[in-house]
Symmetry: C2
Amino acid sequence: MGNLTHHHHHHPVDPEKFQAELKDKLNSLGYRYTPQRQQIVGLFLSEEGHLTAKEVTEHVQQQSASIDQATIYRSLEFFYKIGVLSCSQMGGQTVYEIAHSVPHHHLVCTNCDTVMPLDDHHFDDLVAHLWQDHQFRAELTHLTISGLCGHCAN
Amino acid sequence: MGNLTHHHHHHPVDPEKFQAELKDKLNSLGYRYTPQRQQIVGLFLSEEGHLTAKEVTEHVQQQSASIDQATIYRSLEFFYKIGVLSCSQMGGQTVYEIAHSVPHHHLVCTNCDTVMPLDDHHFDDLVAHLWQDHQFRAELTHLTISGLCGHCAN
DNA sequence: CTCCTTATTGCAAATAGTTGCAATAATAAC
DNA sequence: GTTATTATTGCAACTATTTGCAATAAGGAG
């Protein structure tokens, strides 16, 4: 499986501030901001783009001695559930990234593996339709749409 | 994880005929229709709806002595690649079903786990838009859209 | 600063899914 | 039917992910 490149306009974020606010948020919810969790979030703040659980494990274990893989899997799941990370399926792999305030989806080229963001509003019509004609309240999380990018379509 | 129920209008298929035609198709492509593959396809023809690899393994190994799990995983992948089975992600699980001639997607209620089919044509506008404004040739395989069904939305 | 509660971790074992390879058996050709 | 070819299988080992549980330590209260 090829590298998952990533072409994103990056919301500038102050890591210090982000982490401080995150700690407050977790504490107010009764959760704890452990060094392990700090490192994992720190990694996502420093590395641009999507990371698999395996990649997180490698990076994190390189820095700090031994954070167990179970901790990493549990942390990714945890941050996903509380909305700090987003999670999507890409080429059979589960990838995580910092959850932007503006939800977005991904276009993945099956030929060159380029990942392009796709704004959420493109699904507004579909969501409205599902609600009106199917009585279904769609909760669109990060969809991954495969296909060929303009470059590879030729 | 709860049972994945399934509410589908079923294309009536004659299993005998289906299997015979499948054998010819595979042979003409240089593949072989082994007893293992026959059993797996037979299961999908008899069981309505989606099955996970684990469910397939259980059913198949119950009937016939010992078909290895590797064979099952490889067969599911194989049938998916040649278009006999379709594959989609549902609640973190990979599920397979007989690929209908008319592509469709799934609406999954996050509350009661009901699965509803959603016709492919609902994405025509989106696909056209992606092509015109993003130069992206979307290949929509089976999308799974989570949300609340009309029943649970109240 | 110390103590208490309990969320979280690390460990180890279990469950999922994948892969290399020699043995097997489905086809096609004769 | 027999034989040759090679796709496919079973096995076993491996990687990926999950889970139970006792030990640890974060954060609130005093």
